[in-house]
Symmetry: C2
Subunit: 451 residues, 2 copies
């Protein structure tokens, strides 16, 4: 083992291809369905929403896909990202195990999201798209796509979940610095928005509603395309750049992870990290445990049902087979806004069904405690989403300590928490609530799915 | 020239010594004076405020001082910092010149401040200090010292200028995450604070008052020591780590700066960057132009007087010869809180007097425009302080373009602007004001100095 604080790659080490795990899975993914006909969709169904370059990636059977040169050029402004060994956290825990974390918070917008925002904007620009539209919850995805769109000369409209728009105005400002236009969702901008506002003018909104609004604009405005920040295959594949770099960095550390843990909202950050290691699990004698961490308040993998469901509130997005808590389910207001999605990526869901990955759910208090310990020792204040990954990593090494084993744990620190100080303020003043699993609400939401 | 986006050093490249420019100056620095006696101070005068390790550095005649191992260990969690070539900014400007920037925003607290916070906490801990006290304006210094103190097991109390405490509550939260106690200044915690509050219960406070409060606590509480985040020689010397790394990184780029620009509040970040290059100017045939940038609203170098003045509001800090606008001067509320100090570091002031460096003042509107262009092209949203450096760098290359010359400009991007979104919001909505040089207020403040 080569014990260092950081393992840094050079610009020339940025992978030149993304890794697509889909064709390597033991079973093919169930098809996506057209929300109107409930028939398997073809590229022509997706064409009003996405450029053909991304549609072909969504259904690709190739293991490796070349990263276009203009995308690589933009990756270079923040990639390769560092992999750290959490030596000071290990010391504070008194563990004999090793904790590594791949840090994506150094990107322009502060998370892993530009890894897919940049190629998405690129493929749209390549096909002549002049305007794009998307939704955002906590604002990480919206910030990333704002940066990427202006880099390729594309106008961007963002629908930000109203509760986040109000509670995190600084994310809106960041999107505007990059040149985007931001609406609180639901908004008067769309028919769907007007409908939700007429039912409840003070609705906090949801990611599902914001997706529906964005898709409505994309469908109505000639030449405008939609973009999604997680869940879909092509999005997860773009994130594989994280794991491909981490593979090289683990080599630099002369180590290999026994356990990989990562937080999952839609699943893109975590899949990005684990997919090259999962390939090794499937194809070599490696036996890395891969464990998703989700919030107790929104545990789609551990408590959801594996079934076909809508990705948005009104059924405009493709229908996919995934672990879901029901598309009408509105989770309790935990601070990790990026983990408040009712479903899990179809790819992650299928791998969970096939026992290629496991999952656990953790309450937010334990996560914030882990986050503060991480800040005190490693310096970086993690985003509330990322605190889940840290809490799980700490559990993993404590568990090994109890068994008197030494393990190497690798985790994904997907973003910094500089825009989440209100959440930490609540935590520090003891006001934070641990929400139990909302069994009754989920039951109701799932009943409507299964109809 | 080796054209890359980033020039990255390895952990093993972190300099093992700081560079102290003071003994290399053509003229010795004027002595600091005891504020009570107005006699030159000796180490014993400073002992109630600082540990001996730092006092000896303050007056050292050694060119290079070893960085202690525990300091190096903590530097490793974020150093070496990257030097970037601003290729996309250059392209947007259409310039043929080269712009390099050394980025310190990747540190735990988001600026260059940990470079000195860590050694200051270390030398205090080494001498058994259990509690420290300091002031902070915008909050960068307070955050950095909070992290450093907890790393060495030292309790910390911070007096944050009331206006910043109210307008930037998230910086307070960050300090609390690291374990510090934060008071708005002036506060009921000190006699000086009570006095200012009795005059005006709604006073916005000032850095001068906050320094006085912190010094009062350090003087009154047995064993408690004070720390200053800029201005003093030892602080500037700790920051030389920036320039020493940049020197190696310019070598990697196979280039050398014709012009170095940097923003100056107290002067530590900029001196840190330029000092090794200034040494080359003095000792070799190098002729790099070194240019400080200050805000039009608080131009201590370009409009201040070079004289002895107080560093704080009530005259408890050592009296130093510096460029000053008068210790009672309260600058207009520009967003770059870190550049709102009435004086300039004695070292920087002396070098300006000796024509070793030059200076210019820029209004904040031009700076924010430069900052937004930087964010759009380079991705990083700069702190309002750092936008001054970018505005000056842009001026420098435009000037070279007009003369059909190609120059290499190196600048210091001292921090990110994630906690300054309110400032950008004002800029984007067109509400930002360009304050002219406040000639009358400065005249009044300087009259009381010269008495």
């Amino acid at each position: 083992m080569k014990k260092q604080y950081k393992y840094l790659l050079n610009e020339s080490d940025i992978p030149k291809q993304w890794y697509n795990i889909v064709p390597d899975l033991p079973n093919p993914l169930p098809p996506q369905l057209n929300p109107q006909t409930m028939e398997p969709i073809g590229p022509e169904d997706l064409a009003p929403l996405f450029p053909m370059g991304l549609i072909l990636q969504e259904v690709s059977d190739q293991n490796y896909i070349d990263i276009p040169e203009p995308v690589l050029e933009l990756y270079k402004i923040y990639r390769p990202s560092p992999m750290y060994r959490a030596l000071r956290l290990e010391e504070a825990l008194g563990t004999k195990s090793r904790i590594y974390y791949k840090y994506e918070g150094g990107s322009p917008s502060g998370s892993h999201k530009p890894n897919t925002a940049i190629p998405q904007a690129f493929y749209n620009a390549e096909e002549g798209v002049k305007k794009m539209v998307t939704e955002t919850g906590a604002g990480q995805w919206g910030s990333a796509l704002s940066f990427a769109c202006q880099a390729f000369g594309i106008e961007l409209e963002v629908f930000q979940v109203a509760a986040s728009y109000a509670s995190k105005p600084h994310r809106k400002t960041m999107m505007e610095i990059y040149g985007a236009t931001v609406h609180p969702s639901p908004s008067e901008r769309t028919d769907i928005g007007k409908q939700f506002l007429s039912q409840d003018p003070n609705t906090p909104g949801s990611l599902g509603i914001a997706i529906s609004e964005a898709i409505e604009v994309a469908r109505k405005e000639e030449g405008t395309r939609y973009a999604l920040g997680s869940v879909l295959n092509h999005v997860l594949m773009h994130q594989s750049i994280i794991g491909l770099e981490a593979l090289k960095q683990m080599e630099m550390a002369e180590d290999y992870p026994d356990i990989i843990v990562g937080c999952t909202g839609g699943g893109s950050n975590f899949t990005g990290l684990f997919s090259p290691f999962a390939k090794n699990n499937m194809e070599s004698n490696k036996k890395t445990i891969i464990r998703a961490v989700e919030p107790q308040a929104c545990p789609s993998l551990t408590k959801g049902v594996y079934t076909y469901d809508f990705g948005d509130s009104v059924g405009m997005a493709p229908v996919v087979k995934m672990h879901t808590l029901g598309s009408s389910f509105v989770p309790d207001p935990i601070h990790a806004g990026g983990l408040r999605y009712h479903g899990m990526a179809p790819l992650v869901s299928a791998m969970y069904e096939d026992n290629l990955i496991e999952a656990e759910a953790i309450g937010q208090r334990e996560c914030f405690e882990a986050g503060q310990l991480f800040a005190k020792t490693e310096g970086i204040v993690p985003a509330p989403e990322a605190t889940h990954a840290i809490a799980s990593a700490i559990r993993a090494v404590k568990d090994a300590d109890q068994r008197s084993e030494q393990v190497a744990v690798l985790t994904a620190m997907c973003g910094h928490g500089h825009f989440d100080m209100k959440a930490y303020e609540n935590f520090l003043s003891g006001e934070i609530i641990d929400y139990d699993f909302p069994a009754e609400k989920v039951k109701v939401a799932l009943e409507s799915v299964q109809k």
